[in-house]
Symmetry: C2
Subunit: 190 residues, 2 copies
């Protein structure tokens, strides 16, 4: 049984705590939905912020909602060199010891002390998909992206939850290295 998953390419983006939403956009401000994402309840918001590193900045970084418990900026390694922030490859939420950054919004700015990561490539599985394919949460998978720039990505982390929809997330470096785009498919080979 071949195990085929859809690919979603994550451009640089930021998750904000509600406290930081209010510092950046004003007291009581709520993020507004621009479009839904593949994971249930998640959305790209209409709002963007500027992030400022030691060598450069990105003026319009999309905020993904809803607000989370901790602010986290996800960039590619190419981005990290461009703005001068030494972001490590981490799973989302695992930000201890990562670098911080200055974030600017229309109503204020905040300098976070940690939270800048390069997101480790991963596949979201609904529990039923994982059971069907015999895949465990946190299992590391090998996944083939086909084509002229075909490659097999190793150490793709399985994330299993009843709240997830089946989708593979890679960043823009990985997508461009493979010539892959959102909507392509990939095959879990082992």
């Amino acid at each position: 049984m071949s195990k085929i998953v859809n690919v979603g390419v994550s451009a640089r983006h930021i998750h904000l705590s509600q406290e930081h939403v209010e510092i950046l956009f004003g007291a009581g401000y709520q993020l507004t939905e621009f479009k839904p994402l593949s994971q249930p309840g998640q959305f790209a918001s209409n709002e963007t912020v500027e992030v400022v590193g030691s060598k450069g900045s990105f003026p319009k970084v999309r905020i993904l909602g809803p607000a989370r418990s901790a602010t986290q900026l996800e960039i590619s390694l190419t981005d990290s060199f461009a703005i001068g922030v030494k972001a490590p490859v981490r799973e989302s939420g695992n930000i201890e010891g990562t670098p911080g950054i200055l974030i600017k919004g229309p109503a204020g700015e905040v300098e976070i002390q940690e939270g800048v990561i390069v997101a480790a490539r991963h596949i979201h599985f609904h529990t039923s998909d994982a059971e069907k394919w015999g895949i465990k949460d946190q299992q590391k998978l090998n996944v083939r992206l086909s084509g002229e720039r075909g490659m097999v990505l190793e150490n793709v982390i399985a994330r299993v939850s009843d709240s997830f929809a089946l989708d593979m997330h890679i960043d823009t470096d990985e997508a461009n290295a493979a010539g892959a785009r959102t909507g392509d498919t990939a095959e879990i080979i082992d």
Copy 2:
């Protein structure tokens, strides 16, 4: 026998014809060597040019020397989106039907009609290395880059010549997707 090669990461760069060197830098101008490259006789020059796409430009693109028969700009896919040039993945020298671009130097500018490519990943083999490992010119290889972002690159083109030194060339997207740097090693697995 494991087949280990050194990795060289190619940042965006340009090769110029002598005619274009003279348009951009002045009549009779000769490129000057900044440092030698891995391939015998090739060098990074002290000179840079600006390249201007429809959406943006790169102000300082390194020229690699010596001058060639045709001008060719090599960028990553990430770069191609950034400046708005639809560069295809091609082997060096195979520029028919590729997009052109505006190039600006201190003494003039030139708009090439073709020559912008994303270089296909490849390994240079001296003929003796290729014979030892049973590898043919133009053979497509699978090559593993190890580590946290480990991957197996497919369709890596073998290029065999008495004038080559053993070295694998990948672009910055591929390097960043793999967490690889110049001086790392890779293994040809089949």
